[in-house]
């Protein structure tokens, strides 16, 4: 580039830049002009209009909360409903001395510390013109007292509202859960607009996991209020959309039978329909009344529940991890057969103990003098430990782990309530990862009788039993069976989700296990023969279990009655019935109950009897229906095979997804 060109360019550049700078100044003045003009309109021309809005006649928007969806059991019995109740609220904007006002109110009606605490928390997050609840569920007398004094209580109002009520509050606390007042953590998570009129949200169980569906869509009304905040007239109204109703697979009558059968013992019971993974009953004892939590439980009652050594708040069905003890034996026997490790004619001699080659340590059988010659059937019927010590050693822990994982052990089941535990089905890899130690053969041996590292939740045991009963169809357990959206004519069924079909090597292997389990109840020497009653319309297949809570020193005998209650063995029982055409699979755990056969089995027997009483002899004898071969997609048979043909099919994932979208 020559000097001359450069100068010329420089000159042109300078001129362009000057022109553009002038344009920029003009541009700036125009934009500022627009702003000033706009603000002049707002502040000077329309000043009075906005002052009126701001001070005298305030147009405010009130949220109208949607009605929460109801929850029914499988027979349409209502488990969660909304009852009208009166709430005492204060509008902070209309009062100058909130503390004084609360003090005045507490002279008229009972106001607890916790009510005031929650109220104050809410004052901080809500708009000043919104009513904030101080006391829920006023009784008629309280309503009358406040109404009479209302003229000298500025900012106080009594509002008729719906309040959640659980008619079977204790029976369903661990399943349906409960709603409670929204706390600060939830406030951050929940969509703020949709919850602007809502005081409660699901805290536990179905109420929590289906919150998006149960809640519904908020409505609003625009109202004109006077300087005191009293509504003058409604200008505009948009109605809320109520939440969806849910139908559960749970049978509340069966639930009651089960709870009664517990007779106050601690433990858990889960009953599943093996044909589809539907949860028929889910009991965790002791229980508590979910209604206590709806409007805030006082700290004294809460501490009493929370600190009790019996842990009533603890949902044992999905959170309790127990050694399965002998209930695991049918699974291991099947593992041995299906992996060709043992054959149907396999026998072991049981002298009352087992010893690893070259080791002195004795693994004791529960029967001190031994079972003698023991085949597969006898090993299940009499629960021979030595047979399974030996089998476990032959299988090795990794094969056991692989096989048991197919039945869902050691994994979360994906049941539709939140927070379940995964239990534990150990493997060499697991021990390396978690404890950074190698696996010892002795640990395999005790895993063979469901002790050592092995832990199951009652739900897993029931689910494993259901999978065993139905020929290896592993279903995702499901509490909700159908969702009734208000805009739909009929409820949408939730499709049972079959996760996998466990490959079957030989059907005879499975039949042998079924036979052995049936003999546990119906054989002369079965460990649960007390369930065998004359004139039974069906046969039960099952397995007892007794799980040690602590290990006993070598060769030391122990007496149960000398032990402290809490160190006693857990009693377990798993079963399905009818043995040939299973309609119910069940698992029972009684904490520190002692023997499975005498304590856990009778409870299962009562629940099975109650459930099967609704079927005719014909139905009980009908051969097991063919289950689908593969995981069903959108076209799978709906939840209830009886009235399904005309109902729309709906998957749970889809349902929850939609719920979130409109939430």
């Amino acid at each position: 580039m020559t000097e001359r060109q450069h100068l010329k360019d420089h000159f042109i550049e300078q001129r362009i830049f000057q022109n553009r700078s002038i344009v920029a100044i003009f541009f700036t003045l125009v934009l500022f002009g627009i702003l000033i003009f706009r603000l002049y309109i707002l502040q000077i021309t329309n000043h009075e209009h906005f002052t009126t809005l701001s001070q005298n006649n305030r147009v405010s928007v009130q949220a109208i909360p949607p009605t929460r969806g109801l929850i029914y059991d499988r027979n349409g019995i209502i488990l969660a409903e909304n009852l009208p109740s009166y709430t005492l609220q204060i509008i902070p904007e209309q009062t100058t001395d909130i503390d004084g006002l609360i003090n005045d109110l507490s002279l008229l009606v009972d106001i607890r510390e916790i009510d005031i605490k929650k109220f104050k928390k809410e004052v901080r997050r809500k708009r000043r013109f919104e009513g904030i609840p101080l006391r829920f569920r006023l009784n008629d007398e309280e309503v009358a007292i406040i109404s009479v004094n209302l003229h000298r209580l500025p900012g106080v109002e009594i509002k008729a509202q719906l309040s959640r009520f659980y008619p079977y509050g204790t029976e369903t606390a661990h399943v349906v859960g409960y709603v409670g007042r929204i706390n600060e953590k939830e406030l951050k998570r929940l969509p703020i607009t949709n919850y602007s009129g809502t005081n409660h949200t699901g805290k536990l169980g179905i109420e929590k996991s289906y919150e998006a569906l149960l809640h519904g869509q908020v409505g609003y009304q625009k109202v004109e209020t006077n300087v005191r905040g009293r509504v003058q007239r409604v200008l505009e109204r948009s109605n809320p959309t109520p939440g969806d109703d849910l139908y559960l697979n749970l049978d509340i009558k069966l639930q009651q039978v089960a709870i009664e059968a517990f007779e106050g013992k601690r433990g858990a019971l889960v009953a599943i329909n093996p044909e589809n993974g539907h949860i028929l009953s889910m009991v965790s004892m002791p229980d508590y009344d979910a209604n206590l939590f709806v409007n805030g439980i006082d700290s004294k009652s809460y501490n009493a529940l929370n600190q009790s050594w019996e842990r009533p708040l603890f949902n044992r069905t999905v959170l309790g991890s127990y050694p399965p003890g002998s209930t695991i034996k049918p699974f291991f026997a099947l593992a041995g057969l299906e992996s060709n490790t043992i054959q149907l004619d396999h026998q072991v001699f049981c002298p009352g103990f087992y010893r690893l080659k070259g080791k002195a340590h004795k693994y004791r059988d529960w029967k001190k003098w031994g079972h003698g010659k023991t085949d597969i059937e006898k090993s299940i019927v009499q629960s021979c430990d030595v047979f399974y010590y030996d089998l476990a050693f032959k299988l090795g822990i990794d094969k056991m782990h692989k096989f048991m994982t197919l039945f869902g052990f050691g994994k979360r089941s994906g049941i539709d309530i939140l927070g379940e535990r995964s239990g534990l089905m150990p493997s060499k890899k697991w021990k390396k990862r978690v404890h950074n130690q190698v696996w010892f053969p002795g640990e395999t041996v005790i895993a063979g009788i469901g002790q050592g590292y092995v832990l199951v939740t009652p739900l897993q045991l029931a689910l494993g039993t259901a999978t065993l009963a139905n020929g290896g169809h592993y279903f995702q357990p499901q509490l909700v069976s159908a969702i009734q959206r208000k805009s739909d004519i009929i409820p949408r069924q939730v499709i049972p989700q079959m996760i996998r079909q466990i490959p079957i090597l030989r059907q005879e292997n499975w039949d042998e296990i079924y036979h052995g389990m049936t003999e546990v109840i119906h054989g002369a020497r079965g460990t649960a023969r007390r369930l065998n009653k004359p004139g039974m319309r069906y046969k039960i297949a099952g397995k007892t279990g007794t799980a040690q809570v602590f290990s006993v020193a070598q060769d030391a005998s122990y007496k149960e009655d000398e032990l402290e209650e809490r160190l006693k063995d857990h009693a377990l029982f798993m079963a399905f019935a009818p043995a040939k055409n299973p309609k119910i699979a069940i698992a029972v755990v009684i904490e520190n109950g002692g023997h499975g056969g005498s304590v856990a089995a009778p409870i299962a027997g009562k629940v099975i009897a109650a459930h099967l009483s609704q079927f005719s002899d014909e139905e009980l004898k009908r051969p097991a229906q063919k289950l689908p071969e593969k995981t069903p997609g959108q076209t799978a048979p709906p939840a209830d095979p009886d009235n399904s043909s005309s109902t729309p099919v709906y998957s749970l994932k889809q349902a929850q997804h939609e719920g979130h979208n409109h939430g």
Binding site: E13, I16, I34, Q43, I44, H49
Partner: protein, 368 residues
Amino acid sequence: MASRTSSQSLFFRLHIDITLLMGLVALIALGQIILYSASGENVALMQRQGIRLGIAFIVMLVIAQISPDALRRWSPILFIIGTVMLVAVLFFGTKALGAQRWLNLGLFRFQPSEMMKLAVPMMLAWYLSSGHIPPRKGHLLLALIILMLPVLLIAKQPDLGTSLLVTSAGLFVIFMAGVSWQLILGFAFAGMAFTIPMWLFLMRDYQRQRVLTMLNPESDPLGSGYHIIQSKIAIGSGGTFGKGWLNGTQSHLEFLPERHTDFIFSVFAEEFGFSGILLLLSLYLFVIFRGIYITSQAHGTFSRLLGASIVLTFLVYIFVNIGMVSGILPVVGVPLPLVSYGGTSIVTLLAGFGILMSIHTHRKLLAH
């Protein structure tokens, strides 16, 4: 006259433009006064903002020491680093409030899009100043590509406010470089055509909702329309002289949401009224005109293009923020510059003014 020259030369040696500095300090002081009221007299919040302001001032003074020549040489590298970080944000960014804007660098979180508010105009000024002025068509096309790449990355996060500011920063560089008016009109039409696919594919639901609500705030009185309705009431009820400092009912009765960040102007308007607004706008105008004066005196194409872009982007900040709180523009999340509470934007803004000071005070040294 003599004393003025000597004091000027002292600040000159320190690379500070005292006129601009006074304008900025006055604005920030006014901002702090209203922030105290808008935050509900929250002293802890004021202290946090004070620390940020201190950091921002240090950044400004440090940048003022760097000569425009050095800035020019660093421009491409800064741009590449920024773009790479934007891509990184897309993959490893930290999420907050539904948008993925931050990069977690262990010690602190960094928002690369904020840096691009300066890196993009620097890059474009570097590119266009190294070629013919006014730029030829090929250069122009490449300049637009350089601009669109980071803008799309930022819009994807999604951060509509920042992508808008980066776009205008870039377009101002191109505009100042002397693009012909025919081309500008052509692009304006093309831009309108671009808004249709942007509406359909790029914008998130919440952004579309904001635009729709702006057009008709009454349609969503519980949600986003609530902000605008309440903000207009606050501004309108302020009147000529306002309700007085700390006496805004709309803001103190908590009708106004986000009142110490994006909606702080409404608090100002309510408490100080139209007369207060005229004062605030005069201060803004003072800073802008000083900026335009600095660029008109600048030596070198790079300095001029960059300086003008920084000043005009500042103008866009003001217009978009006040426009949105007064209900003539959609709520896009642009803070009121130097007044709103928040750390990153104030640092970027003052860094920009640092560049202006550098342009102004390195001028004579260059002339030698």
